[in-house]
């Protein structure tokens, strides 16, 4: 019954989506404008039906209705209720349904918020949403149907992959999908503007907050993914340049570029074609990312099983790319007449350079990701490029980006005067050079870390300096104290100060990455009870092993007492978990974080329980914690940037 309701809703929603595609075309004929109105109804109807379908699947999962194949594969009777719910995105079919659900929620929100505005664009915006939605509904209805039944009904289900039974299962996939799907909003507006030939800045201004919100979710999705990998997979790392990690990261690059370059278009009416291209690329990459995860064309730990769904995705990706860029090429005439750059030393050129760097990084990562395919097509041998390639190419690019992050927000539009440069950059530059000397004195002498930390200091200093000047000005004019002056500044210029805070978050993340990339140390040894292993200022004393039967697995735990320069920090217990149906055990690493470094313990093996002998791997990874703090700071900055503050006498201002 549940399955029937779910499947029927998907099919009905598909019919509405098809109507949502046809209606604006009919409505564009004279005298048939009333058809425009029905595009909105088509979206609202899909919203209702897809929500019903999603709730049906959740209901099936929660009530362990094993007559549904998807439920039988992804839950067991013993699965706790929250992992039953997260089973919605535990495998291919359900995660596609979640994707569609988020898409249609976004579409519904857009249709609702802009009910009275953008009358000319909206039918076409909603048509783009219906096209994307129709594609996902076709997949859900006919290619990988989450409501497929299984007969005979099994007595118990198979359960989630144990690696997925983790608290981050609740955050990482939904955050990432929200980020991916959120990019559909600026994309839909961009396409509508292209279709209608209304190529002013309206679509950019309207979608500003949507883009920033999508960017935020994308950032968080990636960061939480890194955190998950760090604390669950037990190899001490957070990023492996795995194809699917790259697929999740790649849309972030053009989205970031877009966030910056639209400001140039808003101010200077430049870069029109470029901005449209960026958003098309960003949206296509979200489809590409999903395609990569589901098609099985590249090996990855994230890959779902392969099947016909990959082909369907490729066809859709081709339609999106050819349709969007074809339209752009066709309309390019209307996009001319942009002024030239006034000066190479200006905010426009800083943003432009930022874009060039981000797109180069994207190109590099894209090439590295599909390199196995290219090499096989050309040379007949599959060659993968690994982390060394990605690191050596992207590190310099990202350092340049950090530098631009310090320059961009402070340099003047059009043409920076000497006065502007001196006022904003003289003291921060001097101070960061002093900081570099200080680092050098502290034995930070490798080129990249030294350069990296100096640039990070430069960014922080330019931001603090600029804010301090502004606060002083307000203090003089309005007599405000420091905190009320900060609050006023942030409220009056949300984008600028929100952006500053986000930049500080990025600085913290970069600091964590630089510290842990440059200065990690590790050691591995086999210990008997009572023996200890030292690394840096830590000494780890092995106190014994303990085995215990858990509800779903057998767990072997080691007790290790940690000393920091002789001070007893208590016991850490890394474990190995043996799941009955798994060949190799799943490790549970443990770590102790503090502001300067993480101590990370991995139990990599043990002899028979009685002998009390264990192989322990310890890693000391500096500054990893700052990455997660940086995530929180970005969250804060995004809130400052998008929060709809009440403006005096104007009521709530949601969007323009």
């Amino acid at each position: 019954m549940t399955a029937t309701i779910g499947h029927a809703s998907v099919i009905a929603a598909l019919l509405l989506a098809v109507w949502g595609i046809i209606a604006p075309v009919i409505g564009s004929r004279p005298g048939r404008e009333r058809f425009y109105a029905s595009t909105r109804a088509a979206i609202m109807g899909q919203f209702f039906l897809v929500t019903l379908a999603s709730l049906s699947l959740i209901y099936g999962l929660v009530t362990t209705d094993f007559s549904i194949k998807y439920v039988a594969f992804n839950t067991t009777r013993a699965t706790p209720i929250y992992y039953r719910v997260t089973g919605l995105w535990g495998a291919l079919e359900g995660s596609l349904l979640l994707w569609e659900w988020i898409l249609i929620i976004f579409s519904g929100l857009v249709a609702w918020i802009y009910k009275e505005r953008h009358r000319e664009l909206m039918p076409w915006v909603l048509m783009i949403f219906s096209i994307v939605s129709a594609f996902f509904l076709v997949v859900l209805g006919f290619v990988s149907n989450p409501f497929e039944s299984v007969f005979p009904v099994p007595a118990d289900g198979r359960g989630l992959n144990p690696l997925l039974e983790d608290a981050n299962m609740m955050t990482h996939p939904p955050l990432l999908y929200t980020g991916f799907v959120g990019l559909a909003v600026p994309y839909a507006f961009a396409m509508a503007a292209l279709i209608r030939g209304k190529l002013d800045e309206a679509w950019i201004v309207t979608t500003r907050r949507w883009t920033l919100t999508a960017w935020f979710f994308l950032t968080m999705g990636n960061l939480v993914g890194a955190y998950w990998s760090y604390h669950v997979l037990g190899w001490g790392g957070y990023w492996a340049w795995d194809p699917v990690e790259n697929a999740a990261f790649m849309p972030w690059l053009p989205a970031t570029a877009f966030l910056h370059s639209v400001q140039v278009q808003e101010r200077r009416r430049m870069l029109k074609v470029w901005n449209l291209s960026l958003i098309i690329i960003a949206f296509s990459l979200t489809i590409f990312g999903t395609f990569l995860t589901r098609s099985g064309i590249l090996s990855s730990i994230h890959a779902f099983s392969s099947g016909p769904v990959g082909t369907v995705f490729l066809v859709f990706l081709a339609i999106v790319l050819l349709g969007s860029f074809g339209l752009l090429a066709y309309r390019a005439d209307h996009l001319k007449g942009q002024p030239e750059l006034d000066s190479m030393v200006s905010r426009e050129s800083a943003f432009l350079l930022n874009n060039v760097v981000l797109v180069s990084a994207l190109f590099t990562i894209f090439l590295g990701t599909i390199f196995p395919l290219i090499s096989e097509a050309v040379a007949g041998v599959q060659v993968s490029v690994g982390a060394p390639y990605f690191n050596s190419v992207t590190v310099p690019l990202f350092l340049l980006l950090v530098f631009l992050m310090g320059v961009g927000p402070m340099i003047a539009w059009r043409k920076a005067s000497w006065d502007n440069l001196r006022r904003n950059f003289l003291w921060p530059s001097v101070a960061s050079l002093l900081f570099a000397l200080l680092l050098f004195g502290w034995n930070v002498r490798d080129f990249f870390p030294l350069l990296g930390f100096t640039l990070l200091a430069f960014v922080v200093l330019t931001i603090l300096f600029d804010t301090a000047l502004a606060v002083r000005a307000r203090h003089r004019i309005a007599g405000e104290g420091i905190f009320s002056a900060l609050a006023t500044l942030a409220r009056k210029n949300q984008r600028r100060y929100g952006g500053f805070i986000v930049h500080l978050g990025v600085v913290l993340i970069t600091m964590g990455i630089a510290g842990s990339m440059g200065y990690s140390v590790e050691r591995e040894a086999t210990l008997r009870t009572g023996e200890s292993l030292s690394l840096g200022r830590y000494r780890i004393l092995f106190q014994g092993l303990k085995g215990s039967q858990q509800p779903t697995h057998f767990r072997v735990e080691g007790a290790f007492r940690v000393f920091n320069k002789g001070e007893d920090l208590g016991i850490l217990s890394p474990a190995l978990k043996f799941f009955p149906a798994q060949q190799s055990p799943v490790g549970r690493a443990v770590y102790r974080s503090n502001i300067s470094d993480d101590l990370y313990l991995i139990l990599s093996g043990f002899s028979e329980l009685k002998e009390n002998q264990a192989t322990l791997k310890i890693l000391v990874r500096p500054m990893v914690m700052w990455m997660w703090v940086g995530g929180l700071v970005i969250f804060l900055g995004t809130i400052v940037a998008v929060w709809p503050f009440r403006q005096k006498g104007r009521g709530w201002r949601i969007e323009d």
Binding site: I297, A318, L328, A329, I370, L373, A377, A581, Q582
Partner: protein, 205 residues
């Protein structure tokens, strides 16, 4: 007047040519990209032409569910149908009845069916055998060694071994009864297949 008009027409047609040129450039960039992704489907990143086909089968010893021991040497002189499965694997369930039916057909000849259960619990495996009324010998690969020796990565996975102990065919995924008959016949005559076959399978964990 005439001049002005023709220049308008000209500029319009040149604008159209420009638009076409841009569309062609767009296609020239995008089509190879889509092409290379499509090429990805013509191959499976995990697909390796099985190095096992045409080679002597790796020796193994398994304990059967009835407690008897069985080694590869015991099977010399017989055509062996060696099938790896697990109770949690849906494609295995899908082919289970076909396998038993084929066994009923061939068991009187010089053919032996042997099932090896991997990554499973004793209880689940016995329930599975009972559910599908499996009568041919089955054992469990407790240490996972046999599965490793045979490079099993997706089950059901089936090896056809000729009476001389040579692997003649390997199939990943479920088999149909027609294929079973054909490949058993080839194995009996020692005909080695060129490639391994593939059907619906479940990746081993």
């Amino acid at each position: 007047m005439r001049i002005a008009r023709s220049s308008i027409v000209n500029s319009q047609s040149s604008r159209e040519t420009m638009a076409w040129r841009r569309i062609i450039i767009t296609l020239a960039v995008l089509l190879p990209l889509i092409g290379i992704l499509a090429y990805g489907f013509t191959r499976d990143p995990r697909y390796i032409n099985s190095p096992l086909i045409g080679r002597p089968a790796a020796p193994f010893a398994v304990t059967l569910f009835d407690g008897k021991k069985l080694t590869l040497d015991d099977l010399k002189g017989k055509t062996v149908f060696l099938n790896f499965w697990a109770s949690w694997c849906p494609p295995c369930r899908a082919e289970a009845r076909d396998l038993e039916a084929a066994w009923q057909t061939f068991k009187d000849g010089d053919v032996l069916f042997l099932g090896i259960d991997i990554q499973d619990t004793d209880e689940d495996a016995r329930a599975y055998l009972k559910e599908f009324n499996v009568t041919y010998p089955n054992g469990r690969d407790l240490s996972g060694k046999v599965a490793v020796d045979y490079g099993v990565w997706g089950i059901p996975e089936t090896f056809f071994i000729d009476p001389q102990g040579q692997i003649t065919y390997k199939h990943v995924g479920s088999l149909g009864s027609a294929l079973i008959t054909a490949k058993l016949d080839e194995a009996r005559r020692g005909i080695v297949s060129a490639k391994e076959g593939k059907g619906a399978y479940q990746a081993v964990r």
